[in-house]
Amino acid sequence: MNGCPSEFALDQRQLQGGADPALALHLDACASCQARLAARRASVAEFEQTLAAPTWTRIEAERRARRRAPRFARLFSWAALGAAAASVLYVAVPYRRSAVSTLTPKGSALAQVVCRRGGQTFVVGPGAEVAPGDALRFLPLPVWPQARYIQVGSVDGTGAYVPFYPAAAAESVALPPRGAALEGSIQLDDAPGPERLFFVLSAVPLSTREVAQAALAHVGAGDRVQRIAGREVVTGWVVLPKRRGGAPASP
């Protein structure tokens, strides 16, 4: 065979029990591939010997925490975001449960929420309803000079908390430059609503696990949370009623 096999080809070979003679011949003769395979084997061994079991425990715990986790995707960048953000949705601090399923524009505004549905982009206004498939973007507002980091997540109708920013990392993401939205977008899935978005501003990065715990502890009353893991924070909730099935008409 010509050229060295890719990682993908090597993985396929493993799945097939190493049955490709041409590949085996190449691997026997190629010093570069042998070095690459040795490095790979070392990394795999490191994982299997020390990390596999505790990581699996974390996976199961995370799965329980998310239960019916909305799937999210970073779909697109919105050139129209700046224009659409001309009007403001206030992420209220705190939301009032009596206001239910609508936004309560009281208190300090933490972020604008912008929705893309079909070909339309619009700022989510008070009382607006979201739907599966909607993609949301968030534009943090400069409400707390000490704020350097942000986390955004949602407690859905099943009571599961799903982190949006960051989606996979263990700590808060840095705030974007003033006037810029958080990178990417969040696509809502068909988990039951409402989507109760939880925004956390902090001066230092916070653990996503601790923010999730705070969200779940306070979602019932929509309380403002002032400290997480002993660190001062500014938080806000916004409740988005969610239609099941087809999307509502864009405003």
């Binding site: 993908f8 993985d11 990394s43 596999a52 990581t55 699996w56 996976i59 799937r71 990392a169 990178e183």
Partner: protein, 169 residues
């Protein structure tokens, strides 16, 4: 996927997912986080991953996307020291600045192009393999690579492939 299928996939592939994440991110803890997230997402998958080959392609795709997210978050956090370690592991070598420039260039491209560049230049995939993993046509792969190469030449005055290929060594 059922619980049993996810557990089996974890036994079969978690080590490889971790190794690949560590190679892309140059950060073991971040690679572990990526591995965790990949298999958490397996639980949400439907029965569409019918074959081992489809599962493997999906694992590559999700791992790549999560690694790119991790790199973006790392940059957003301004962790310049770790960025430097990641983007310029051989900063003292003559090609160091060009390599950094290539990564910066890559960061400015769309998600699909970033992923395809990683498949071809870091994973060493053929264009056909990259097309299969990315779920796009061969032509799309060629176009993405051509766009990346053209930008590299125009902005940096270098050919991307020889520099990125060093990542494999």
């Amino acid at each position: 996927m059922t619980d049993a299928e996810v557990a089996q996939a974890y036994r079969d592939h978690a080590g490889a997912v971790y190794a690949r994440g560590a190679r892309i991110l140059r950060d073991r803890e971040a690679a572990r986080d990526v591995t965790q997230e990949v298999f958490v997402r397996c639980f949400g998958r439907g029965p569409d991953l019918r074959s081992q080959r489809e599962l493997l392609a999906w694992l590559y795709r999700v791992t790549t996307n999560l690694c790119l997210n991790a790199i973006r978050n790392r940059k957003l956090r301004g962790r310049a020291d770790r960025d430097a370690a990641h983007f310029a592991p051989a900063a003292a070598a003559p090609e160091g600045p060009a390599r950094r420039g290539l990564w910066d260039l890559l960061a400015g491209l769309d998600d699909r192009t970033q992923a395809i560049v990683i498949y071809v230049h870091l994973d060493g995939m053929t264009q056909a393999e990259a097309a299969e993993v990315a779920g796009v046509s061969d032509r799309t792969v060629r176009n993405c690579l051509a766009r990346f190469e053209a930008r590299a030449r125009a902005r940096l005055g270098v050919e991307a492939e020889p520099i990125l290929a060093k990542e494999l060594s």
